[in-house]
Symmetry: C2
Amino acid sequence: QIDSARLWGSIHETAKFGGTAKGGVRRLTLSSEDKQVRDWFRKACEDAGLEVHVDALGSQFGLRKGRDMSKLPVGIGSHLDTQPTGGKYDGILGTLGALEVIRTLNDAGIETDAPICIVNWTNEEGSRFAPAMMASAAYVGDFTTDDILSRKDVEGTTVGQALDSIGYRGDKPVGFQKLGCFVELHIEQGPILEAEGKTIGVVDSGQGVLWYDGKISGFESHAGSTPMPLRRDALATLSEIVLAMEAIAKKHGPNAVGTIGEAVIANPSRNVIPGEIAFTMDCRSADGAIMDALDRDLRAAIAEIAARRKVEVKIDLVWRKPPTHFDPTLIAAVENAAKTLGYSSRRITSGAGHDACNLNTIMPAAMVFVPCKDGISHNELEDATQPDCAAGTNVLMHTVLAIAGV
Amino acid sequence: QIDSARLWGSIHETAKFGGTAKGGVRRLTLSSEDKQVRDWFRKACEDAGLEVHVDALGSQFGLRKGRDMSKLPVGIGSHLDTQPTGGKYDGILGTLGALEVIRTLNDAGIETDAPICIVNWTNEEGSRFAPAMMASAAYVGDFTTDDILSRKDVEGTTVGQALDSIGYRGDKPVGFQKLGCFVELHIEQGPILEAEGKTIGVVDSGQGVLWYDGKISGFESHAGSTPMPLRRDALATLSEIVLAMEAIAKKHGPNAVGTIGEAVIANPSRNVIPGEIAFTMDCRSADGAIMDALDRDLRAAIAEIAARRKVEVKIDLVWRKPPTHFDPTLIAAVENAAKTLGYSSRRITSGAGHDACNLNTIMPAAMVFVPCKDGISHNELEDATQPDCAAGTNVLMHTVLAIAGV
Ligand SMILES: NC(=O)NCCC(=O)O
Ligand SMILES: NC(=O)NCCC(=O)O
């Protein structure tokens, strides 16, 4: 059994790095707050006797030796960055839970066969730099390191510059730390476990993601003197796109979602009809065929709206992550750990993307979910209970022990 | 006859203050570019022998003495500020046209009975600070000077601070310069004169304006894991409001318009459902009863949308300007000047608000319109021809001579 109070203490101690008045955390990747939590994490890893390395994209790796160093390490961990209006658990539970597993094994003097490596992946959130799960995507070869280093935030700062500014461009090449498998603990970020009174979600799959950048070019003109029928209003166009996306996602059933999270009017003025808007789109489904249908329906709807309103709408697909199907053996190991520990559980699909989804493309991976209050995440009010967090961490530890061998 | 080439030269000489790559002008009120054009204008007034004063809100007044100084001056002029994506003519034609009238009278050695006062009103556009036509509204007593001085732009800078920063907080109290009447020359900013092949618009009325500040409070949550039916999406709410406003304006016929020009998502992120949006609304009609109906319909639509989507929407009416009915005697004077000079003309309603609309509430006022290309305004592509600008300025001069007496 892990030390529930110690885990809870770590979560609340680090929540001060970027802590907000509403009780959430604003810790954008590679910000000064991110540097603070990274420094804390490095020291905690060193104190736990781990050998710590940082790769060229800033991901932190803490290695605990195993009896048999010819075996690849069992990877566990998650991320410590948050959304602009993020909570105290998303990513953090999985990273500090991994640390707690190490501390517990140390205290109990347990040596494993295979080594264990705990990881804090850079920019899981994708809020400051696209795509999300950026560093683990580079780790599995979906993007080159140079490509990722050149990605820019809205201010034009590149990932490379941001890494340098907080001193976290590591000396190890991306991929230097080989892993045999990866298990990630996370809050569910959805309402199912809580609603069904289950403690553990055994994650067997994850939704695929489509991310687009969009730009609407209408025509700026006078709000008072331009008759309604002569307008080429970029905001009215966006409004139709937002509602079309909502309708399309609903049409494809419970297994699809669509969101426009960013929309910026160029040179806004109260008495000017908006002429240009940049926006983003995020569509997801756990079913590849539905993802294709979302893409098709969305493009058709946008083309119709643009033609009717006589405006130009450009859509760029900037990221496509297919649905994830986690490794059956690892899924069974998680399920078994939950059963052994006496926790109620159910199989579940992840609505969010996770580093484990990326790692699953080159190694066996799996995830452990615990409930979060009202399914709320990406919100400062995100909440989870201490017993649930401890239960998830126990399941993580027992899964690791089963895989690594004692 | 005014000097068409000189007028055209002034327009293009001053267009460099804030000139944009696309051939427009970006000269927000009380910005450094506004200071440049104000300095130019003051010097031009002094060179034309005018006595120049600046009031506490920065409006510039240039007085040309009349034979009978017991008579109140005939006011002419407009504004030199522009929209963020503004053109070379909106406001500028009326201000530099007034200057051209003075220069022409000087060259011809014509003395008028009543004095003539040319005016550059501060912040007509209303883009940086609300309301529009701010200084002329204070002049007629719709707002106190202190109230206006405390208005803030999006950066939190007050009108008072902005005036001080460019050295244009004048030493004269607002209203120090009494005027007997006011005539404003302006581009139409709409498509009617051009479509009908008319040179002069004799403006007999102006639309009323409703300006609102709005705020939507939904709930931020995860774009991937929040099912569509559980969302309280601020952007989807805004989208419905935008389309409802469009439908309501159309329903009330050709005599109504409605625009949402600004909308800002708080803490935007690609994978977060927008939780909070601040936005503005601009509704207009030349008919007071339709204005009331627009307000009523809009509030009802917003209440319905907010309740259905379980979000909070707050609406503040920040400005209400009733429709304008210009002075019949002055309207006739403008019409007569156009006829005498042999220009085709028609009566017309102003879609935009103008300083003359404010002045009309305490003195006789009227306006002269000239065509602009495709009715485009509040756009960098705004355009007008040299002969039309000259024709409007000639009509302005002959109207002034008829009122002031020679
Ligand atoms: N777990 C999580 O919130 N990931 C952020 C990436 C995404 O799914 O949008
Ligand atoms: N003439 C003009 O464009 N005025 C700006 C104020 C408004 O009508 O919105």
